[in-house]
Amino acid sequence: MIDYFALLGVERRPAITEEILKGAYFRKSESLQSDPSESGERFAVNAAFRIIANPATRIQHLLTLEFGEPGGGQIGADLGELFGSIVKVLQSADHQLGSLAAQSSPILRALEYQRLEGLRPQLEQVEKELSQRESGLLAELVRLDQRWLENTARTRRPLAQMALDLTFVQKWLSQVRERIIRLEELA
């Protein structure tokens, strides 16, 4: 198992600022660029940055290095509830966008597009909720980072939970945003 923290030369902990991470990554990339014989290592450095830059994958990597596995579990109950409402909005969006896309007459499509206006606020609403969740989780990460420094073993479970929640929130966010863009695209 490669230690991506070590590879980039950053501290092994849950929270790392973008500034520090990028600085390390750029220095590494620069030293590799001037040395063509190291071209193989560029794969690893790019992978390292990708994994460490995303808080969810970073935590999973950290837990794997420390405890041999990323830990799992189930998403929190409140997220589960939110998920139910997101699925509904997504399904209704897909249905409406699908029938819009299937419409071949420009004029019928334009009229249908006008009718679709109700969808946008709905999507924007869930997007907002999810973004708030994401910021909340990231703020929580900073607190957990402190706890980790004090007591690694005790922070293991909450960190694993957080990585899981973050993964789902990120995934749903990108799905909701994709629908918002589709709506633009079909105009």
Binding site: F26, S29, A47, I107, L108, A110, L111, Q114, R177, E184
Partner: protein, 603 residues
């Protein structure tokens, strides 16, 4: 070590450059021009003619003058709508080939003729031979298009040192003077045939692409096509008897040339008098084309770039207000409407300091300088534009390398035998963003071989590796036997496409015999939906179109109504289609209205 040249192999124009004391210098040909039109004329006898002299043959010998070939490179037949080229494009064995007289040419062979000309220009100018090159491609090119471009370079006698993405190249050209800067920039590149948007972060000599998006079939050519359509309509309005003649290829080429010239002038003028003397016999045509008319047909085309911009911002996790600069590249961005559009999408005035024709070539040349060591302290981190995956059970796409992953990158998958003594399984490699496998590009397929062992015991790892050119390599490793091999992807299409097309055509012919009633019923259904829709659109935005267009729509509606009484399904289908086409502008106005309303509500 010899020097490396940088090449912009454009849909419309191509250029070549070389580094000279730390600066990219673009090379002029014998006629003093740095821009070579990407046009090749193949005379019946004699050598191919390339560049400006070929461009002049376009209206004279449309069947033998090849242009916009980049739109065909690395493409498979049936991937999207048919192009209307005045030269013949045929599908043979799953490939698009150009048919000129009795010759069949691959698009990359035509491109290699262009590259040979550029190579000769550079050699004349430098006084020695050049054989290493960096070539730029649209960022949104897929693996097949990249490979085909690379082989065009090799056919021309170059060693291709790197394939660079066009907007990334433009960013290099822009950023070379700002090496100490830290900023986030968007490069909006709208050329003849392709659109690319890339978001980059400049950070003290590091150029990092955050995301890239685009469309390899969207550009100035589309505006030309719509403008030709408009002019044809106007000509028919004046001389209805000329309708059949207008479909002639020679005629198409002539109008296209005139339309194109008018389009260029309308970027700086408000009205252009379009003149077609001796249109037919001694009938001449003259028409005052306004910028407003051009913008009305260009707007929907330009608007198609919007979702790509939004996706790339989203992928870069960036709000437009966080951008420091939006840089415009590509000839089409000279149109004022494009500038307004960018200002609106990115919420800032775009930067037009980059020469839209030369930025990409200059950037490709800088990349050549980086590779040869002449340019130091510059690091380029680019991404792969499209997700790479494999087909799973149920015909779904399983993503292995997500889009916008920094290249070079690699990822692996482990496979095992599903049944005892299974010796092989087929892996289908896909590229694209769609959930269903069949909606993505199939890069190829290969057979993964197993040792005959009990079920679930075999362990074969497959490694997918995207190199710094964005090109895929596949490696399979049998971890039990310790064998490793590079996998060759075979093209998926091996049945002759003409056979397939014939099959489809035949089955359709038969289908129609049984279905004539259904065709009629469907057409009636459509008319019944369409006519009231047009009426209600007219009440909503009818005041925004002129009386001539109003009258034309009325005529089209009456024809649908007349056809409804005729019980002639072909006539009704045609009338519906014509009403669809005639109300396209009306539809655009409706959408504008909806968007404005949405924007107002947001405020």
């Amino acid at each position: 070590m010899s020097e490396i040249v940088g090449i912009d192999l454009g849909t419309t124009n191509s250029l070549i450059g070389v580094m000279d004391s730390g600066f990219p210098i673009l090379i002029a040909d014998r006629d003093g021009s740095r821009l070579t039109p990407s046009v090749v004329y193949l005379p019946e006898n004699g050598d191919p003619v390339v560049g400006a002299p070929a461009d002049r043959m376009r209206a004279l010998m449309p069947e033998r003058t090849l242009y916009s070939v980049k739109r065909l490179i690395g493409r498979r037949p049936g991937e999207s709508e048919k192009e209307d080229f005045p030269f013949a494009v045929r599908s043979v064995n799953g490939r698009m080939l150009l048919e000129i007289g009795d010759q069949l040419l691959k698009p990359e062979e035509v491109s290699s003729l262009l590259l040979k000309k550029l190579k000769a220009d550079a050699e004349t100018s430098l006084g020695h031979s050049v054989d290493r090159a960096v070539i730029s491609v649209p960022a949104y090119f897929n693996d097949l298009q990249r490979q085909a471009t690379k082989s065009a370079g090799e056919l021309a006698g170059f060693t291709i040192e790197r394939i660079i993405n066009e907007p990334t190249a433009a960013a290099l050209a822009y950023g070379l003077d700002r090496l100490r800067d830290r900023s986030k920039i968007a490069v909006y590149d709208l050329g003849g045939g392709t659109f690319d948007i890339s978001i980059l972060e400049l950070n003290e000599g590091v150029f990092r692409v955050l995301s890239t998006n685009g469309n390899t079939r969207l550009g100035g050519d589309d505006i030309d096509r719509e403008l030709v359509r408009l002019l044809k309509e106007r000509i028919i309005g004046r001389y209805p008897e000329l309708r059949p003649e207008l479909d002639d290829r020679l005629f198409f080429a002539r109008i296209r040339e005139i339309a194109h010239a008018a389009k260029l002038r309308l970027s700086t003028e408000d009205v252009v008098q379009v003149e077609i003397p001796f249109l037919s016999g001694n009938r001449s045509f003259s028409y005052a084309l306004t910028r407003m008319e051009l913008e009305a047909i260009a707007r929907p085309i330009i608007r198609r770039t919007r979702s790509h911009c939004l996706r790339s911002l989203d992928d870069a996790k960036l709000d437009p207000v966080k951008l420091d600069e939006v840089i415009l590249v590509g000839g089409v961005t000279r149109m004022p409407i494009v500038r307004q559009f960018c200002a609106e999408v990115f919420q800032r005035l775009p930067n037009i300091t980059q020469n839209p024709d030369e930025a990409v070539a200059a950037g490709a040349t800088i990349q050549a300088g980086i590779l040869s060591g002449e340019v130091q302290n510059v690091v380029l981190l680019d991404v792969t534009p499209l997700s790479l995956g494999i087909e799973t059970f149920g015909g779904l796409m399983n993503v292995i390398i997500p889009r916008n992953t920094t290249i070079p990158c690699k990822a692996g998958e482990m496979f095992t035998n599903a049944v005892a003594n299974q010796t092989a399984m087929q892996i289908v490699v896909l590229q694209g963003e769609r959930e269903l496998a069949k909606d993505n590009w199939e890069l190829g397929r290969f057979n993964l071989e197993f040792e005959p062992v009990p079920k679930g015991i075999a362990r074969v790892g497959v490694q997918f590796e995207i190199d710094a050119d964005g090109i895929l390599h596949v490696l399979a490793r049998d971890t039990r036997a310790g064998r490793e091999k590079v996998v060759e992807l075979s093209s998926a299409v091996d049945v002759s496409d003409e056979a397939v097309e014939k099959m489809i055509a035949e089955s359709l012919d038969h289908a129609f015999e049984d279905m004539s009633e259904r065709v009629w019923a469907e057409a009636v259904l459509k008319s019944n939906e369409l006519v009231p829709a047009v009426r209600s659109a007219l009440t909503l935005v009818g005041d925004q179109i002129n009386s001539e267009d109003q009258r034309k729509i009325d005529v089209l509606v009456s024809e649908v109504e007349a056809a409804l009484k005729s019980h002639d399904s072909q006539r009704l289908k045609k009338a519906n289609a014509e009403l669809d086409e005639g109300t396209q502008h009306l539809a655009t106005l409706l959408i504008d209205r909806a968007m404005n309303e949405a924007a107002r509500r947001k405020k």
